[in-house]
């Protein structure tokens, strides 16, 4: 029998490649980014003295703060609307669609998930633009006379996001609903609960963990996304990732971009801590 220590060494050997990769290309780059955030840019060169000026200037410059507020508002709106739309869809697929067709209904519901991210936003632009499908249809139906200006507004950004996250949340909530044992429902019915009471007092509370996991995913992916606001929202109300990208690509101001990235990460970490109790990874 090999000794316990030898077995442990062998076990760690399997883990080391992934760990080294993470260290070299995730943890170290993160440390480098933190270092950059403490440096300053002067003209085209870097001043490598450590200070918190970049962080201080975040709170002094109103358009940076406005970007963070826009990000938070849009993300909150998207998360709530997506859950409200996706939950009934997931419930209908799990409860009302016959088991034979459930998988098909689910695949259909998330099929556009697999369009390219960039292309999906562009496709919404086709629908929402001044001469787009939506305006033409509404004018032909006589609902409106002049085209609605939806493209390049917050409404367009939220629509594009909600489309993506409704699909994602339908998937996570459905997975949660079908895992519930039918015994809960039977017990509730035996105790005299009607359909709505069973849902409200039994099913809904039991699916809250799944909803929270989905909400957290939505939050993280939405608040860090650059493409959807850039293509659909345009340059009217910048969100934080757009401001970060401006610092990187237009101004080549890496220190400011780094400080803004860290601030974005802090916001995400706060959300993570708030949801931590629902996010435990489990092995079946």
């Amino acid at each position: 029998m090999p000794s316990e220590a030898a077995l442990q060494r062998k076990g760690w050997a399997f883990v080391v490649p992934a760990l080294l990769w993470t260290l070299a290309f995730f943890i170290i780059p993160f440390a480098v980014m933190v270092m950059y955030s403490l440096w300053q840019r002067a003209g085209t060169s870097l001043v490598k003295t450590w200070s918190f000026d970049n962080y201080a200037s975040f709170f002094e410059k109103s358009h940076f703060v406005a970007g963070l507020i826009n990000s938070l508002e849009i993300t909150a709106l998207v998360t709530v609307i997506s859950i409200v739309l996706a939950y009934p869809l997931a419930w209908i697929i799990a409860e009302r669609v016959s088991p034979r067709w459930q998988r098909m209904a689910l695949i259909l519901a998330i099929l556009p998930f697999w369009t390219s991210y960039v292309v999906r936003s562009y496709a919404w632009l086709l629908v929402l633009s001044r001469n787009g499908y939506l305006n033409q249809t509404l004018i032909n139906l006589g609902v409106i006379d002049t085209p609605l200006e939806i493209a390049a507004t917050r409404v367009a950004t939220v629509t594009g996001f909600v489309h993506f996250f409704v699909m994602l949340l339908t998937l996570t909530i459905y997975a949660n609903l079908v895992q519930l044992s039918p015994n809960y429902r039977r017990a509730a019915a035996d105790l005299g609960a009607n359909g709505f009471q069973t849902f409200w007092h039994v099913i809904l509370p039991l699916t809250i963990p799944g909803v929270m996991v989905g909400a957290f995913l939505t939050f993280v992916l939405c608040i860090g996304d650059y493409i959807t606001p850039q293509i659909l929202g345009g340059n009217n109300e910048l969100v934080l990732p757009q401001i970060i990208m401006l610092q990187i690509t237009r101004r080549a101001d890496f220190p400011t971009a780094a400080a803004l990235s860290i601030i974005l990460m802090v916001v995400i970490s706060i959300a993570y801590i708030a949801c931590a109790r629902w996010l435990k990874m489990e092995r079946t």
């Binding site: 442990q8 076990g11 760690w12 399997f14 883990v15 490649p17 992934a18 760990l19 990769w21 993470t22 290309f25 995730f26 943890i27 170290i28 780059p29 993160f30 480098v32 980014m33 009934p88 869809l89 209908i92 009302r96 998988r103 695949i107 259909l108 519901a109 099929l111 556009p112 697999w114 390219s116 960039v118 292309v119 562009y122 496709a123 086709l126 629908v127 633009s129 001469n131 787009g132 499908y133 033409q136 489309h163 409704v166 079908v178 044992s181 015994n183 860090g224 996304d225 493409i227 293509i231 990732p241 970060i244 990187i248 780094a258 990235s261 990460m265 995400i268 990874m281 092995r283 079946t284």
Partner: protein
């Protein structure tokens, strides 16, 4: 009452599926547009924009680059993820929790931040941007995904089969390659193809870390500057078709093999 509820359910389904499919249908429909603008009225069908896509060298080489980066980076991600999952599931490792957390950490960080971190690091040590650096970035985002999927499918029920193989004289590598890996094949393949679709679709890391040779999403991004254009519709439809084929293959080959899933009770 019952009838009313059925109508409500059907109406909701129609509304939501309509919302979900609206952009995709518009995208694909107007890729067959005859005229120069992908806006109503539809005056096709015409295949000329597909012709334009496939005769555009920049787009076809970007397509090829994307496929290469996706296929190779996913292979690396799957390998790293599988090895780590095997180590954690089969050996008792004290202090494993923080290491597991470190390996899965990239899942909770925005791609923008991962890409930017790599950009400043490569900049600092003088590594120039290329498809290789894009691939490195994609391995960073996909390894935790592969690890999580494969680790979740490693149950203790497979442990006895591995023990049996060991009793029959197989060494560690034989057990891992000829017993464990085949048993986990469905989840390994699922992890691989999921990584492929994620990498092949990824924009921001590819945008920040590529320079002369770019991947397809980056090339499409530069197409967008010319505004609404049926050529963009055509290339978008091609990308969609490829992804859907991968997903449906996965669905029918891997997940349909067993008996239809029934509910746990």
């Amino acid at each position: 009452m019952h009838r009313l509820r059925t109508i409500g359910v059907a109406g909701y389904l129609l509304l939501l599926y309509g919302f979900i499919f609206l952009p995709v249908v518009t995208l694909v429909l107007f890729s067959f547009q005859e005229g120069r603008f992908p806006i109503p009225p539809f005056n096709g069908p015409s295949l000329k924009w597909y012709q334009a896509v496939f005769s555009d060298n920049k787009l076809t080489s970007a397509l090829f680059n994307s496929l290469m980066v996706a296929l190779i980076s996913s292979l690396v991600s799957c390998l790293l993820g599988f090895l780590a999952a095997y180590g954690f599931a089969r050996y008792r490792l004290p202090g494993a929790a923080p290491i597991k957390a470190a390996i899965t950490a990239p899942l909770t960080v925005s791609y923008l931040i991962i890409g930017f971190g790599l950009l400043v690091t490569f900049n600092m040590i003088g590594v120039s941007r290329s498809l290789l650096t894009v691939g490195i970035g994609h391995v960073v985002i996909n390894t935790p995904l592969c690890f999580a999927i494969i680790y979740a499918s490693m149950g203790d029920h497979q442990l006895n089969i591995e023990r049996a193989a060991r009793d029959l004289g197989a060494n560690d590598w034989q057990v891992m390659l000829r017993v464990t890996a085949p048993m986990l094949l469905p989840s390994i393949i699922a992890a691989y193809f999921l990584s492929v679709t994620f990498s092949w679709d990824e924009f921001i890391i590819a945008f920040l870390l590529s320079r002369f040779d770019v991947t397809l999403p980056v090339e499409i991004w530069s197409l967008l500057r010319s505004g609404l254009n049926p050529k963009t519709n055509a290339v978008g439809s091609v990308v969609f078709l490829i992804s859907v084929v991968i997903v449906l293959l996965l669905e029918f080959i891997i997940f349909r093999r067993g008996a239809p899933r029934d509910r746990k009770s």
